[in-house]
Amino acid sequence: MNEESLRPVARSLLRSYQVRIARSRDLAEALARGTLSSWSDKDLIFNEGDPSKAVEVVLKGKVRVLKRDASGNNKELAVLNSPAMIGHMGMVDGSMRSASCIAVGSVGCISIDQETFRELLGETSNPGAAFRHLILSSLSMQLTTANNKIRHLIDDMESEKRREKVSLEDAVAQTQQESDDSDGESSAIRLMKIAGVLDGWKMDSEGIDDIEFVVDEDMKRTREARKKRG
């Protein structure tokens, strides 16, 4: 795929992974080194426990992420919209796939294999730097989102304990007010989702709205040029 056609995807990726310092043209150049692959509805993109062979950058369609719980049942962790990056954790540390991914509708991806991934991480070049910054921002989001969710869980459990001490009637009233964050999910489900966030399977940015957006320097320059032109 040519770099120019990948510019919009690169720009969206930089925005959704809140990359502070990278240009979309550099990231597009990095992505162009991958190969195109496609899946039909309900196709298995990869299975939990498989060796990690590539990072998939979802260009088109949706991907359903499933993880086995302690009883061996598949639980849905997230449905990811394009553009999204999946499977990068295994590439970073050589671990196996920590969840299964299934295509929802027709899905198009750019696969960046191990060799290209290593090359990009090791390069002293603009595409290399943009790709490293994408990975770094993703890892940072994973850690921050998980930490925030753990903190919410601890706070909710503290409230739950306090509620147990008040009368049943008061407790019911309080539950209606305080359980908004958990959406009625059990601690086990919430912990499973936190584990999913850590693995990079759910990129919602809940609780990290304090990230400074610089996003795309190309866009910034275009905006500045437009302003100058009046």
């Binding site: 002293t124 921002s137 890892l139 850690l143 921050t144 059990s186 601690s187 850590l198």
Partner: protein, 201 residues
Amino acid sequence: MPMRGLGVLTTERVRNTMVIRELSKLHMFKKVPKSDLARLTELSTASNYGIGDCICRQGEQATNAMLLVSGRLEVSIQTDSSVKHIGVIHPGEIFGEQGLFHSKGKRNATVLANRPSQCLTLTPDIMRLSHDNEAIGALERHLIATMARRIRSTNKAIQLVWKDAQQEEDRKNAKKVNDNSSQEEKSGSILTKLRSLFGGK
């Protein structure tokens, strides 16, 4: 006056040369040219700490990351009633890296020097130059590995607590008994584990 200015310049140059020497001993910079290390040293600030000095405190605003060049540091977190030591930082390790990505982030732990130590302060601006500086590229690769390790260890801790929570829930479902006392026991034990792993009120 000119002589004094020259003196400051020479002191700075000597200090930078010593920092470069220490940096080149670190594994991540083994293949990095000295000129790139010199540029990294110019762009960052080296600070020295004595035993017991505080490098950063839990709850403080985080605007940068630190690289321990030499010495040894101790990491602790404040829980509801006590201070818990959670690890030691060795030369070549980066800490406080969330400060590179979040403009209003806070320090999650307190870091004290337990040996005379030297740290390099890394600001987000340094990363803008990683496309033509091998030292900064090496630093970023090291950061990726560090964060991946941190994610894995947090995940491991979460998986353990999750497993316990799952088993408790399965047990409860099997019995189909809505017993208030067992519920209290469940949330209490999971909460205690989470607190001991991640701190809390």
